[in-house]
Symmetry: C2
Subunit: 195 residues, 2 copies
DNA sequence: GTAGAATGAACGGCGATTCAGTCAGAAACT
DNA sequence: AGTTTCTGACTGAATCGCCGTTCATTCTAC
């Protein structure tokens, strides 16, 4: 009678524990205690400690991309879509502080994650941005000569840095308030005419 | 007769080793072998393995900021300064592939580095960008109402993401070539009038 | 009664750190 | 100069604590 959402509970516990202590400083037994189970039980659902982190990242990232796709569907204008992406990016992180901590700080552990495992999920998010920008170029709203791939990375990087600063700065300000200026600066940078 | 630049040799070796295997996958003995010394010797110069990473980051970052400051001194125009910062950022990384690997991928290890130890050095770099932008506002070249702190983080984030993509994508393209578009998009985003 | 889920004590490997010993060269002495 | 003593940088095998993982046992639901 394997509990079908035990893995979810373990992942949820892992997010809290990793957020508190960092991946390498977290014991598997800490995750177990946080989840209210024995450490051995974790190995019924995950082969290794690494697998917990990889799975956590995969799932959260997939949810995220799905959410963004869903929200964008309601919007026609490519420029408004960009504004929505930025707003959503910041909103998700602000509403999930533990997840934000893990995604912005812990998940950067070299080799293992950005390379390999997560590459596919991250690139799905890049694709979303990339597609919107191309749409904007097609509609004549965005400079025809814009290097779209570069601009995509710039926007992601800009959002990511704002988020990281927010997390590291102990959330001393409101992240959501930064959404409007970030979108505006970026759009003015890529648009064919004024914004 | 302590060799006064033994620490430097150890750091140089550590950069090569960390670039190859990642921080957590590198043995102290690997660094020793790479440096051509015994593992115990490392402990004559560094108290712990962590200290090697922290020191390496501190020193390289300080050199970096000093270099940028020096190069900017030769330049009057704030907009040209921004272009120079971007060009330099990419040039340094492109010319030091091992350092790039360590800085972009390995040094992100949560807790320990971005928080604490390195905060001061990173913020010095932020200050450089911040000051140039304010100078631009003062000169009427940059929108008077620009949220300078946000724009600073955006530019840093944009450069950082381009660099990270370049490192993770096994350097499949020329990073330096991205400097011009990045600077142009950013400047168009923040300037009072066209660029 | 039994299958299979859960437990958690114990194992085993790993790797950072230590430290007793080596040795090259500097100083002291003849 | 030659000889002896001393110094402390350097070595690397051995130590030791840590924690991911295992598995013999217990529990639970049917």
């Amino acid at each position: 009678m394997r509990d079908p959402d035990k893995p979810q509970q373990i992942i949820a516990a892992a997010i809290r524990v990793f957020a508190r202590s960092g991946y390498y400083n977290s014991r598997v037994s800490d995750i177990a205690r946080e989840a209210g189970i024995a450490s051995g039980t974790i190995y019924l659902y995950f082969k290794t400690k690494d697998e917990i982190l990889v799975t956590l990242f995969r799932e959260k990232m997939a949810e995220w991309v799905a959410l963004v796709r869903r929200e964008l569907a309601a919007e026609r204008n490519p420029l408004a879509k960009i504004r929505k992406i930025v707003a959503l990016h910041f909103k998700v992180l602000e509403e999930n502080p533990d997840l934000a901590e893990v995604v912005q700080v812990e998940l950067r552990q070299g080799q293992k994650f950005f390379r390999g495992a997560s590459a596919h999920e991250v690139s799905a998010y890049f694709d979303v941005i990339n597609d919107v920008l191309e749409e904007g170029v097609g509609a004549g709203l965005i400079r025809r000569d814009l290097p779209v791939k570069v601009a995509t990375k710039m926007l992601f990087g800009a959002m990511d840095q704002l988020a990281t600063s927010w997390v590291l700065g102990k959330r001393g300000y409101c992240l959501t308030e930064a959404a409007e200026p970030v979108a505006t600066i970026f759009l003015q940078g890529v648009c064919a005419h004024g914004v």
